[in-house]
């Protein structure tokens, strides 16, 4: 190749490099201008604010990651379903109500109340009191151990149980699972026709139960309204059995006089006059 030829190629190469450099210069100029305009932007924080912004952005990223993990966890364990919760509550209320009234045996009624406290509410320590005598003291009749707890009486109006017995207003500790005899987590009055006949108190929950829930409050309401009736009914029945000198198997002998008293009432006469239904049939036999 000739020298002239080489010179032409070098010239072309120089022109190409020059053009490329011009492009780089333009790009640099654009970047410098952009940088300047960004620095002049008042909405862009600088210095300490910029550091804070970066920290916040990092925190947002972390929270987003946690959110994703939680969503995954919820999807795996199952989201709390309000319908299922409602169904659970209704099942608990049904079971509690059914078992409280399935018997008139005092020991069995007490056992039912205890089972509701242990198995439905999750009470590890509790006491059941009845008002005694002139309604001045609360007598413990059962606790989580036995039907014969220590006879530590509580004067009405004193301590949480005494105040609940006096006022008829239930008491609930807002949080926690551990209390004691004098500082219970929950204390509810047992009522019959609006009159307090005793008190239930829970002083400790099982380890796996962190606190009392709204479902537990519903169960306490049910106990407050029905446990008293069940206990009073069973106590009266036991007293009647003792007075009659009969055994529990002679139950109809105690019931029948009650039915005869009812027969004298106007409703029983109407039923008999109608001449049908089980009420009328029963009336006929007792007459």
């Amino acid at each position: 190749m000739s020298e002239k030829g080489h010179g032409g190629e070098n010239l072309q190469e120089l022109v190409r490099i020059e053009a490329a450099l011009a492009g780089v210069r333009d790009a640099c100029q654009r970047l410098v201008e952009e940088n300047r305009s960004l620095r002049q932007d008042p909405s862009r924080p600088a210095g300490a604010d910029a550091l804070r912004l970066r920290a916040l952005e990092a925190r947002v990223s972390q929270l987003e990651a946690e959110n994703r993990d939680l969503c995954r966890e919820i999807a795996m364990t199952g989201r709390p379903d309000p319908l299922k919760e409602q169904e659970g509550l209704l099942a608990n209320l049904y079971v509690a109500g059914f078992n409280l009234h399935r018997t008139m045996e005092l020991s069995a009624v007490l056992a039912s109340v205890k089972e509701i406290l242990i198995n439905l509410i999750g009470a590890e320590k509790f006491q059941i009191f009845l008002l005694e005598g002139e309604r001045h003291t609360l007598l413990p009749i059962a606790d989580e151990q036995s039907h014969r707890p220590s006879r530590r009486r509580v004067p009405v109006g004193e301590g949480i149980a005494g105040v609940v017995a006096k006022t008829g207003i239930p008491y609930f500790e807002a949080d926690g699972r551990d209390g004691d005899f004098h500082n219970p987590l929950a204390c509810v009055p047992m009522k019959v026709d609006g009159q307090v006949i005793g008190v239930l108190q829970v002083s400790r929950l099982f380890v796996q139960k962190k606190r009392l829930t709204s479902q537990d409050h519903e169960l306490f309401s049910l106990l407050a309204e029905t446990a008293g009736t069940a206990l009073l009914g069973a106590t009266l029945r036991q007293r009647a059995v003792q007075q009659e000198g009969t055994s529990a198997l002679d139950w109809p002998a105690i019931v029948l006089p009650c039915l005869q008293i009812d027969d004298g009432g106007p409703q029983a006469h109407v039923a008999a006059g109608d001449g049908g239904g089980p009420a009328a049939g029963g009336t006929g036999r007792t007459n």
Binding site: V95, N119, L120
Partner: protein, 133 residues
């Protein structure tokens, strides 16, 4: 779908009812109840049972003895067993699992926990059965 036959072994009527209510979340199931281990074995003689849920402390025959008897009988040893214990009864729980129980749940029971545990036990058995075949 095949009907799931549960045997609930509990001396407490409240707990029996509660467990039965929770199990009814399985769309197609039949529930047989027994008051203790001996009653459970009597019922197993003529009832089909797919899963046993048993309490530990019961009169006449307790849950641990029931687990032991069920596991030692060739016709019943593959039936999944879930034991129901109180939270403090760590020893009973370990003993039950060592005797061959598949899982345990603690009282007071939550319906969701019970259903999840039973589902896991059944899935575990299915997976185990398919891996053996």
């Amino acid at each position: 779908m095949e009907t799931l036959n549960f045997l609930v072994v509990e001396d407490s009527p409240t707990m029996r009812q509660l467990i039965s209510f929770a199990l009814r979340r399985f769309s197609d199931c039949r529930i047989v109840e027994a008051v203790d281990g001996a009653d459970a074995l009597r019922k197993m003689a003529y009832e089909k049972v797919d899963v046993i849920l048993t309490d530990i402390n019961m009169p006449i025959m307790d849950g641990l003895k029931l687990v032991s008897v069920v596991r030692s009988n060739a016709t019943t040893r593959r039936i999944p067993i879930v034991i129901i214990t109180t939270e403090g009864a760590e020893e009973d729980r370990k003993r039950g699992l060592s005797l061959g129980a598949d899982a345990y749940i603690s009282k007071p029971i939550e319906a969701d926990d019970l259903v999840r545990t039973v589902t896991e036990v059944l899935e575990g058995r299915r997976t185990g059965a398919s891996s053996l075949s």
